[in-house]
């Protein structure tokens, strides 16, 4: 690499590789999906559930590899099964920590077993756990696009009642909102979003797109629709810069994504601390 930082030629160089095109296209779709669903994950305090889906997805993906299937199939099947199972456990997320933890531990153990039965043990495990954005096929990009559009349509449909139910459950219920349907539908959407986002971040770093950008955005704007746009923007920034830097350095893309969202969060929290004093003085 020359020291002459010609941005255009660098981007051209990146785009000339098919695997980089796939990585970039997937990251666009996932950034939008994770930015939108992540806002509600943060608002509903469902981060732990999102992580559980991720780890259930790990069992699914490693099982799929063992059977010679596309790991994406296993990810989706595993996460959706987990999504329905956890939604069926009960309505109030806060009471479910223990059950989620129990299922999560078992799923990780199962994933470990599947992976250990497979020949290329460590490579497969590392790529599922920490992300393998540079190994996405054109077929997978297409599936991700279809699923991403489906998720966005579903979130658009659920938007207002879900926001209402998240902020004021009792009144939403009295207004005739179907709470069980809302909770279950959201859980399935999150499970689906997580299983596709794993392609980018991996199982263990799923929070970097599903939680951190939204958690940062809510400090920037107190209006949900704006905060969602900002959350998407942060995800896009992190994945694009992450891919760019990752391409020109020997270090993993997932690391740069987690690093960027983390330091953005820190910066926003610090800046917000000063602004927040205004409200504190008022109260």
């Amino acid at each position: 690499m020359t020291l002459d930082l010609n941005l255009i030629s660098m981007l051209q160089q990146i785009w000339s590789y098919e695997f980089m095109q796939h990585a970039i296209e997937t990251s666009w779709i996932i950034s939008v999906v994770a930015g939108v669903t992540g806002y509600f994950v943060v608002l509903r305090r469902s981060a732990f559930v999102a992580h559980a889906y991720s780890e259930i997805g790990f069992a699914g993906a490693s099982g799929a590899i063992l059977l010679g299937l596309d790991p994406l199939v296993g990810l989706v099947l595993g996460s959706i099964t987990g999504g329905i199972a956890i939604a069926a456990l009960g309505r109030r997320i806060t009471n479910r920590d223990t059950q989620i933890g129990i299922v999560l531990a078992f799923a990780l153990g199962l994933g470990l077993l599947f992976i250990s039965l497979y020949k290329a043990f460590s490579t497969a495990a590392i790529s599922i756990l920490f992300g393998e954005i540079l190994g996405i096929s054109s077929n997978e990009v297409l599936i991700t696009l279809v699923a991403g559009l489906g998720i966005l349509v579903a979130m658009g449909f659920l938007y207002r009642p879900l926001l209402f139910a998240s902020l004021d459950e009792d009144v939403a219920e009295a207004k005739g909102m179907p709470m069980l349907f809302l909770g279950t539908a959201f859980m399935i959407v999150v499970a689906l979003a997580v299983s596709f986002a794993i392609q980018v971040t991996g199982v263990l770093l799923i929070f970097s797109l599903m939680v951190t950008p939204a958690a940062t955005a809510q400090y920037v704007s107190m209006r949900p629709n704006r905060a969602i746009l900002i959350s998407v923007g942060i995800s896009l920034l992190a994945t694009q810069v992450g891919l760019f830097v990752g391409y020109f350095t020997p270090y993993p893309v997932s690391f740069f994504i987690t690093g960027i969202v983390f330091f953005l969060y820190l910066a926003v929290r610090l800046a917000h601390g000063f602004v927040h004093k205004r409200f504190e003085e008022h109260a």
Binding site: L43, R45, G156, F157, L158, Y159, R160, P161, L163, F164, L167, D168, D170, V171, A172, E173, A174, K175, G176, M177, Q218, Y219, M222, R223, P224, N225, A227, F279, E280, H282, A283
Partner: protein, 265 residues
């Protein structure tokens, strides 16, 4: 201004319960338009159960109940509801006007990112409860009294005919309690809204009330405060000797039951 209207709520031999357990039975009462009604009684007597019946969240075990001329149904936009609740999580970084707006359109599917009409209605509702200055504050930083105003605006934003307020005064200090009661009374009188308010202490409410619904001992007594809050009436309700004392200011103290709902203050 007292608007005399037909009965907005009518209960006849109404009984409520959960499964085989009856909470209270044989309640017969009515509430007219523009009335300010207090629902009083010990903890667990079934005050919130009455609200659940009115909201259509629960079916009566016996008897008939009509609200706004029809049996209760879930999601009636002519009923505004402020549930009993805990404080909002201090990590909730959403501005107040958003919650109020959801009171108007939160039950509709889909997004409406460009609806300024909703937002204007929400701002107007905030103004009507004297909380305009809180519109753009995050929900998480508000005090109990401020939150109650926001919840009231959320309930009022759809211009309901009936307001159901479940213990809005709990956790408020004396000053804020008085302020909120004056506010509810203003809404009732100026808009002709009927308000049912669940409370523990009847005294701060007495100057404003048209009617009391007293729930205790599996029974319900209703009428004007001066009729219901007497030794005879409450003795009949509880089935044990109950004494109602009045101080020169008109405050009542109820003696002889475990809980003192009418502490003199």
């Amino acid at each position: 201004m007292v608007r005399v209207q037909s009965k907005l709520i009518e209960a006849e031999n109404l009984s409520a319960g959960y499964g085989a357990k009856t909470v209270w039975r044989d309640a017969t009462f009515s509430v007219g338009g523009g009335e300010f009604v207090a629902v009083i009684g010990p903890n667990g007597a079934g005050k919130t159960t009455l609200f659940r019946l009115l909201l259509g969240l629960q079916q009566p075990t016996r008897g008939a109940l009509r609200i706004l001329g029809a049996p209760p149904r879930r999601g009636n936009p002519r009923i505004g509801y402020v549930p009993q609740r805990h404080l909002i999580d201090s990590e909730t970084h959403i501005e107040c006007v958003e919650l109020v707006r959801l009171g108007l359109s939160g039950a509709r599917w889909g997004i409406n990112p460009f609806s300024h009409a909703d937002r204007d209605a929400a701002l107007a509702a905030l103004e009507s409860v004297g909380a305009s200055e809180l519109a753009h504050y995050p929900l998480g930083v508000l005090s109990g009294g401020e939150l109650q105003r926001i919840f009231l605006a959320e309930a009022m934003v759809s211009n309901p005919d009936i307001l159901l307020l479940d213990e809005p005064l709990s956790n408020l200090d004396l000053k804020r309690e008085t302020d909120l009661l004056h506010l509810v009374n203003d809404v009732v009188r100026s808009r002709g809204v009927t308000a049912l308010l669940i409370a523990h202490n009847i005294n701060p409410l007495l100057p404003h009330l048209d009617k009391v619904i007293y729930v205790a001992n599996g029974k319900v007594a209703t009428g004007k405060p001066s009729t219901v809050l007497t030794s005879e009436s409450l003795t009949a309700l509880y089935g044990i000797q109950v004494e109602v004392l009045r101080d020169p200011h008109g405050n009542v103290a109820i003696i002889g039951v475990e809980e003192h709902h009418g502490d003199v203050r």
